[in-house]
Symmetry: C2
């Protein structure tokens, strides 16, 4: 029996211990948004330190203005001697459990039914963290002194990671690595593992159109004063062409076209029309002509009005022409689109299309570039090989429509590229009552992570 087989056997033999560790961590209700749980978040950070120390890592709890960040590293090898240094990202905070009455088992008492473990944080992402830590420990047992493994574990992901960016800036050297492993992405289905190849970026804007300086009587002024809701509606209408493309001139100028191979790979994602309609309940799909479903959300930008309001929005009616109307807009960017440039084009578009019957204002809330990793990168190839071996099927390359800011921050601040995967499932109900973790997927995931370390080092 070679080391690899011994390592996988060792993991199988220890799976109930890993499960016990996970359950211990889950029992600490580390809800980051609710100040009532601040002590539990602290307690979870301490638990992580002690847990990682037991696995022979040195671990430190760093205080931040809000919740602690835990950093750990393996000491069996210096970075200089290691084949590679990997920085594993994780967050140990969880979403609130409410509405509690909809839980069928207590949210912070992990309950195993069949092969599912029900609890808040089981899938997002205490389970994913324990999987990487268990895999790292098993790998080091059978391949000592090869990879330097570091962890950075934040307690604020579910409340927007306010402290993370500054922490990365302040601890650049401590966090140096060849690669970041981010296990906060998920699978497509139980039999379809995935590697997330890219995330869309985002521009977050608020557009306000103002007309009269107070709400007017719509009888007295209807027909002679323009209505900010009408003007805003026309602008929103103009933002898209009939073919589903965004109509802002220059918007697509820097959009990166993917290679035929990449498009083929992305289109192996079986998330088709039927599945999307089932997931959303919408009557029909919509989108940019010439692109498939996975392409539309993965490699093409999109623009959504996330909220709009103006005038009277209470019960019944109030006959007014409102003084203003507002739209909250996010634009999802793809690789090579610059948030600031897109913001500028958006401003020019509004300026060019707005009539002189109103005034306007745009608030730029935030911007983030898209992230995309190269599928030819050796870390990806190692991960493909590891996952394929455990699942007996090649993982699918997935482009995620959403944004994970830490991926960009690690690239921009630390200069470290991330590889994204994870063994949660689409039906894990993360952020909702009855969150669960599929323990079979999870156990396979631990083996896959451990194998990945092996192959990543071999391929150096």
């Amino acid at each position: 029996m070679n080391s690899k087989q011994e390592m996988l056997t060792y993991i199988k033999e220890n799976i109930s211990k890993y499960q016990d560790d996970l359950m211990e961590l889950i029992k600490i209700p580390s809800v980051s948004t609710d100040p009532d749980f601040a002590n539990d978040v602290k307690k979870a950070a301490k638990w992580l330190k002690s847990y990682l120390e037991d696995l022979d890592f040195t671990a430190t709890v760093y205080e931040t203005p809000k919740h602690p960040i835990v950093v750990a590293e393996s000491n069996d090898v210096d970075s200089a001697e290691a084949c590679k240094t990997i920085l594993i990202y994780g967050h140990y905070d969880v979403q609130p459990s409410d509405p509690d009455e909809l839980w069928e088992t207590p949210p912070f008492t992990p309950t195993i039914i069949g092969s599912q473990m029900f609890a808040r944080g089981a899938s997002d992402m205490k389970g994913q963290f324990i999987a990487t830590a268990a895999a790292a420990a098993a790998f080091r047992k059978f391949y000592p002194g090869q990879i330097k493994i570091k962890f950075i574990l934040e307690g604020e992901e579910e409340s927007g990671s306010p402290s993370l960016k500054q922490f990365l800036i302040d601890h650049k050297d401590l966090l140096q690595a060849d690669l970041a492993l981010n296990p906060d992405a998920g699978m497509i289905a139980k039999s379809i593992p995935a590697i997330t190849l890219g995330l869309r970026g985002m521009v977050d804007l608020e557009l306000t159109v103002s007309g009269p300086d107070h709400d007017l009587h719509s009888g007295s002024y209807g027909g002679v004063i323009d209505n900010p809701i009408h003007v805003l509606s026309t602008l929103i209408d103009k933002l898209h062409n009939k073919d589903g493309k965004i109509a802002i001139p220059g918007f697509y100028d820097n959009v990166l076209d993917l290679s035929v191979e990449e498009r083929e790979s992305i289109n192996k994602n079986p998330t088709n029309e039927k599945i999307i309609l089932f997931q959303t309940g919408a009557p029909n799909l919509w989108g940019e002509t010439g692109y498939t479903v996975p392409e539309r959300t993965g490699i093409r930008p999109s623009l959504s009005v996330n909220g709009m309001y103006g005038g009277y929005t209470g019960e019944g009616s109030k006959t007014i022409i409102p003084a203003s109307a507002t739209a909250k807009i996010t634009i999802r960017l793809v690789k090579n689109q610059q948030p600031q440039r897109i913001y500028q084009l958006f401003q020019e578009f509004i300026d060019h299309n707005i009539p002189d019957t109103v005034t306007w204002n745009i608030e730029y809330r935030s911007g983030a570039k898209a992230a995309k990793t190269n599928p030819q990168h050796l870390s990806n190839k190692s991960l493909v090989k590891a996952i394929s071996e455990i699942w007996n099927i090649e993982p699918i390359y997935k482009m995620e429509g959403g944004s994970i800011p830490v991926v960009n921050q690690m690239e921009d601040i630390l200069g470290v590229e991330s590889i994204l995967t994870g063994f949660g499932l689409a039906d894990d109900r993360i952020h909702s009552p009855n969150e669960k973790l599929d323990l079979e997927c999870w156990a396979m995931g631990i083996e896959a992570f451990a194998l990945f370390f092996v192959y990543y080092c071999e391929q150096k």
Copy 2:
């Protein structure tokens, strides 16, 4: 000295008594919307009964499901013998006084400064009611046994007149008249008296567009699922053509074209672009090409989205594609447009223009036809003559952009046409803090009402 001159002199001599009566009525805070004031509304109704009895009317307080309606009639002449029967409409309830801290004098303690009386209800419309009652009493003193004068005074106008319609149906005979005098309309300026010739009607609708069955993550689904806010915006945009016309096919089919004379008369209204911009604070005017400012609000229909909402409307941002979006819409109608027909055309328009990526629903809240009186009508001519004599200038015919449902109800239920005037001013701040009444206008108004009764009877 003839009776007419004696009557006008009598009014001048008694003006401080009329003022005292008005102040007594104002001191009763008859706020109809706030249940805390229900007893005050009752008290005001009793006060009216006793006041009208003192003026030699028989008066009855009728209970309704909410606030009482007071009906009074003069008994010096039978309807059969009178030259005419006039039904005077009034409401004795007032708007709430809040925000109280913005009042410079106590809202329910009438305070005279110069020629202005400051108090809630002074202009809208306790002052207008006392003016008609004082005029009626003076007229009857010098022209006894000529006109049968009736009053209907409601206590719910500021809360939507929920009891009035049924009361009219139940008391048709009691309220029979040749003409209704509605003094709830106002002047254009202190030197420019006005007769309101018409009011626009209204269709009140709520349009909801629904897409997915729950709010979706705009990252995961942005680009493949249509956004109800986008669809609703496109529909709102389509409702108007570039020339400011409403784009619903058939919408203008029954719109009544006014005669050259009527348009000329309406355009004597000096409310021009400058005045509207000053009143509203809007940067520029807007509207249907080919029509003047008074025409756009008076004789042309208009459509306003009074309120719109969809998705996240709180602080900051939330990256969702919302499940639905809603627009509250009122359409102002002109003479001959049928609310039900317009509603049907609106539905057909939405049905024809909406994509299959969403579903839709329209709630029809209410509808009211436009009201328009004939300027050649003898009651109008009498009122013109009376006002001209007191002001030394002919009143301007005004088309009011708003709707006064009681005018239609009286026409439809009682078969009685209304004549609309009043001696309030545009800057009386009705519904706002520091409401006031110009006592000079008001005193002239009492004389004009009394003269109107004289001429109306003479012209029989």
